[in-house]
Amino acid sequence: MTTKLTQNTNKIKTVVTALARNQWFFVLVVLIVVSVFTHSMNPRFFRLTNILNVLERISVLGIVAAGATILIVSGNFDISVGANLGLSACVMAILIRMGYSSEVAVALGILSAIGANLVVGASSVLFRAPSFITSLACISVFQGTALAITGAQFQTIYGRFEVLGATRLFGVIPLVFIVCLVVYVAVFVMLYYTLLGRRVHAIGSNPKAAYLAGINVNANKLIFFAINGLLVGIAAALFLSRVGSASATTGQGMEIRAIGSAVIGGAVMTGGKGSVLGTFLGALLMGVIGNSLNLLRVSPYFQDVSFGVVLLLALGVTSFSHAKERRGTTG
């Protein structure tokens, strides 16, 4: 009788600890708590239009964060994604203003994003420097280039490229969010069911061992950066289509939010481990908190504060659960 009871509590404990070890679960809980709280204060929250609005707003960040997850899991960092996104959007906008079709403009813009990201990756490989540092150096290169080609002017293209941003599937679901979902499914499949995904994990976990297991570490690193560039390019196109203008400051701060979403979702900064689902929920949490603060009429400046607080909380949870693992579960 008592043994059965302890057995049951033991079982519950193992399930709870197993879930608690998945950080996405924790993020989900916070997400629900914040949503329910906001809804109780302002019932507009759970209206379809509001939900769709949130989803639409997180789509661009979500796509960039998906790329950041790939890089973090592979042991890399790219903090130039914001600048890269800005540059890519500027390229697209300028080409459209020059009269090129939006397809051509987007294609070239995406190519520019991939190229820019390859510069980050290649310099890291070539100089054997951490990509964190090379991407830091690249920020000013990308921003400077964007300033130069735009002449420091806003590039507005109102009404000329709205297909992506304004289309609603069945009249309700924003196309940008669909694109975001497709990206997430693709990245999920890539990370967990393809050889390339295994390489991402192996290289992130122990690059020396990966090399000795016959993996071409450098070539793969470039591939990871190219994929990240592709995602940044796609995000840039969505952004441009939604907003209708671009400038050299477009995308500023995006890198922090993208890496932050990945970390909130459970990506380990030292590489080798991360969760795409977690990143998605992390980006969603950012969106929901921003939306809540709006609905609750809190000053927009607090959005940044709240982002930082959530990030710190997430890091706290990670280190707490790791410490617990190390000390062993007591009781």
């Binding site: 069911y193 295994r198 994990h201 976990s205 990966a210 000795l212 993996i215 062993g328």
Partner: protein
């Protein structure tokens, strides 16, 4: 905390400690008693719970039940700081020294002598005192060297010195000799003996029973997390210990089946690299196990990495089959049919965050045309290896970091058993592996040989080298100084003399020195 030197009361007692990780019962009601001046050896199979017990003592993990008693004080669990304060010093495998500081600075880390000017470290006093400490222990390390200049063995010794300097009364060592060569192991044994004379209590974990019988006073046997028994070393023999450990009769010595030996299939010609490998030539025939012995630092592992394409030789030729190999990377080598089980699995082998399945399948995935992974066939491959090598785990999804050391090694070997290769290079294949599993790994090596493959086995374990190899090449200072046919005339002492280069001095007499 009393005066342990005069009273016979124990230094340390562990009462009924249990610890569970998920489904694994790592420790189940384990107790021990340690007196001053005693060397207590803990033995057991891979995953028996030895390291877990040590982690309880060092404060790295908290037990689920039981207590630790140091002197009179009883603790339910310790923190690392408490353990240190109580005089429990643990020497981990991963060296915890600061590379960029000198030996002396490392010894005094955190308690630097600041004499004349406050806040300024007095390096002269520090060096002089460090010299004193090293001298009293008969340790020949220059106190002014930077730690990064030390060998693995010296670093290990330095950790012990540091622990002693902190006035520890109990020294705990988890497989201290697994990364040491012969000479270093001997030196460590000597040090342990001197420490015992100073009335320290020592807990010593090793898979090498000869070490246990050489320095141990008592031997404690763990099996599947349970305490099987504790015996005075003088009253038991190694067969008895092995039987208690493994639960069945298993000899500590391996007698391998011979494999038919064919033509020469692998040849290295004057391979030279970077002053570390010098003009090495040898060949390996099909079905042959070619052992390579030598001291740590003699260039054996570097030779292995050249043959595996991880380093490019400056000069020299490598021929496999009837083709000369020009390897640009390990990937090249694998494609040509060369594989390598690396010496240090933590640095060069494991993907610590990843599962057993991913760790086993990594090479296979990389070199099969299929780009889809995570399939049922991959899972089946992982499961078959878990069965075949009897890897102690609760599933292929368990992360490799949570396996015991020996089981991690088995995963490293499993990686190369999914496909066939032409040349198998094993660098210290049984590092950290228990007696039972050693036999299994030996059987796998012999299997490869019997299938007509070439095998190169680098080993610092003399019984292993002598019982497994058909021929033994001795490396010294980067050269392959001699290749022996492994017949009954060859013995350990003779080989060791070649390792050290003593044969030149008493060249003619070597056959006569039969006595120890």
């Amino acid at each position: 905390m009393g005066e342990p030197s005069t009273t016979p009361s124990p230094l340390l007692q562990v009462h009924g400690v249990s610890k569970r990780f998920g489904q694994t019962e790592a420790l189940n009601d384990v107790s021990l008693t340690l007196h001053g001046g005693e060397v207590l050896c803990i033995v057991g199979e891979n995953g028996a719970g030895k390291s877990t017990l040590i982690k309880v003592l060092s404060g790295a993990i908290a037990p689920d039940a039981g207590s630790v008693q140091v002197g009179e004080a009883v603790y339910e669990s310790l923190t690392p700081a408490e353990a240190m304060e109580l005089g429990l010093a643990t020497i981990y495998q991963e060296v915890e020294l600061i590379d960029s500081l000198t030996v002396a600075a490392n010894i005094f880390l955190g308690q630097e002598p600041t004499q004349r000017i406050p806040f300024l470290v007095d390096a002269r006093v520090q060096n002089a005192r460090a010299r004193e400490i090293l001298d009293t222990l008969h340790i020949d390390i220059n106190e002014r060297l930077l730690v990064e200049q030390l060998s693995a063995a010296q670093k290990q010794t330095l950790q012990i010195v540091k622990a002693l300097h902190q006035e520890s009364s109990i020294l705990i060592m988890d497989e201290p000799t697994s990364s040491l060569g012969l000479e270093e192991t001997r030196a460590l044994m000597g040090l342990v003996r001197r420490l015992r004379e100073r009335n320290l209590g020592i807990i010593y974990i090793s898979h090498h029973l000869e070490e246990v019988f050489e320095i141990g006073d008592t031997v404690m046997i763990l099996k599947d997390g349970r305490h099987v028994g504790t015996y005075p070393c003088g009253e038991v023999n190694s067969d008895f210990v092995v039987r208690k450990m493994v639960g069945r009769d298993a000899s500590a010595f391996f007698s391998r089946e011979p494999a038919p030996i064919g033509d020469v299939a692998f040849r290295a010609d004057s391979v030279t690299w970077n002053g570390i490998v010098r003009d090495v030539s040898f060949d390996v025939r099909k079905g042959e196990v070619f052992g390579i012995g030598g001291l740590v630092g003699s260039g054996r592992s570097e030779l292995a990495s050249i043959l595996y394409g991880a380093a490019r030789p400056d000069t020299g030729r490598i021929v496999l089959g009837n083709r000369e190999l020009s390897l640009r990377s390990p990937a090249d080598a694998i494609e040509q049919g060369v594989c390598l089980v690396t010496e240090d699995r933590h640095v060069y082998g494991m993907f610590p965050e990843r599962s057993i399945q991913e760790n086993v399948a990594v090479v296979h995935n990389e070199f099969t045309p299929c780009r889809v992974v995570g399939t049922r066939s991959e899972a089946a491959l992982a499961d078959s290896m878990i069965d075949k090598l009897r890897i102690a785990t609760f599933g292929r999804g368990q992360s490799i970091m949570n396996l015991s050391g020996g089981n991690q090694q088995k995963v490293m070997i499993a990686r190369w058993l999914l496909d066939e290769y032409r040349l198998y290079i094993f660098d210290e294949p049984t590092k950290g592996v228990d007696v039972g599993a050693k036999q299994e790994i030996y059987a796998l090596i012999v299997d490869a040989a019997r299938n007509g493959k070439c095998v190169i086995m680098i080993s610092s374990d003399m019984p292993e080298l002598l019982s497994m190899s058909d021929r033994i090449g001795v490396m010294r200072e980067g050269r392959m100084v001699r290749v022996f046919d492994n017949d009954s005339d060859l013995n350990e002492q003779e080989l060791i003399r070649y390792f050290m280069g003593e044969e030149e001095n008493n060249g003619d007499h070597e056959a006569h020195t039969e006595h120890q």
